[in-house]
Amino acid sequence: MGLKGMISIEKGLVVVAGERSVLIPPSFITLLQDRVMKEKGEKWREIFYEAGKKAMDNLAPTYKLIMLIPRNSASKKKLIEELVEIWSWMSCGRPEVTKIDLRNNHFTFRVYGSTIAKPYLGRGEMMCDYLAGMVAGGFGSIIGESLKCREVKCIANGNEFCEFEVTGV
């Protein structure tokens, strides 16, 4: 899908991948995370994971409709790759799916330059719980099963990229 089809910025209306969207500085999310951390401690992770997951539980099924693949021949693998392609237009890092094992429900997903983790470089922790939730919800709704996702590498933890392991619940 070309740039024109994927993103449209007009006065009063921004549409990305067929979804009405807002353009925000990543610091908007950072501030929310920091304040939730302050009040809730480690529970912030669960809160942002759930927010990301619920969003994708609801969105991914409609994304399926706009994907270019004819629906009758659409394999789940292809749909996952298309979803990741859509995410690559979110301007929050470069995503890549590196393993799709549908038989065992095991997936590996990477993001280079996560804008969620960038403000926390040097912190020594995984910080992309929101993205982890998105991946669990997004892949899960494509394959039609409940999945969980864990971040195992993060640029905020000193790794070169952020990496996520996705498995069945």
């Binding site: 009405r20 353009l23 990543p26 009040e39 529970k43 994708m56 969105l59």
Partner: protein, 188 residues
């Protein structure tokens, strides 16, 4: 005007700083999750909106240098210009129907923050656009160099036709006129 937002490959930038895409449905679920789990989530969203737009204003000044400083020294122009920028961030169609000695009013059609309430036919008892209120407070505070509070007085999530935001105030507000509908063609 639309090229305020710059595209570099798949990344978006405003005044040299990266912007991310948040679709309005994800925004809705984020707000709901925060509302469920933290105290004062509304205040939190207000502060995050305010902080984000103030950072935007400082990168605007850094990015444009002297011309930005000249603009910022003329409050009315600066306000119009910033509303024009905000109009390209997908927040909704923002206008300033009146600004004067006592109040500044913002009207937003199709608020991105409230749109999903309308889509889901979820009627709210009180206005829901806290991040937008924070954004307007931040814009005015940066321009007027004075603390201001912004309150949403009408909201599409409550069944109103538009969302309306009011910054009441005082003697400090010296903007003299609103542009109303003729704003459409402003500097386009």
């Amino acid at each position: 005007m639309a090229d305020y937002v710059q595209k570099k490959r798949k990344e978006l930038f405003l005044f040299g700083e990266q912007l991310s895409v948040l679709d309005v449905r994800s925004f809705y679920y984020l707000k709901k999750e925060l509302g469920r789990s933290v105290r004062n989530s509304n205040e939190l969203l207000y502060d995050a909106g305010k902080d984000a737009v103030q950072k935007m204003q400082s990168s605007f000044v850094k990015f444009l240098g002297d011309s930005a400083r000249v603009l910022m020294s003329d409050p009315e122009n600066a306000l119009n210009e910033f509303v024009e920028v905000l109009n390209y961030l997908g927040l909704g169609e923002i206008s300033i129907p009146e600004s004067g000695l006592k109040t500044i009013k913002f009207v937003v059609r199709h608020s991105a923050e409230a749109q999903e309430y309308v889509n889901l036919k979820e009627r709210s008892k009180s206005p829901v656009c806290y991040a937008l209120a924070g954004i307007f407070a931040g814009v005015c505070e940066g321009i007027l160099q004075n603390p201001v509070e912004c309150k949403e007085t009408r909201c599409i999530a409550c069944g109103e036709e538009v969302c309306e935001f009011v910054i009441p105030s005082g003697d400090d507000i010296i903007l003299t006129r609103g542009g109303g509908d003729d704003r459409q063609g402003h500097k386009a």
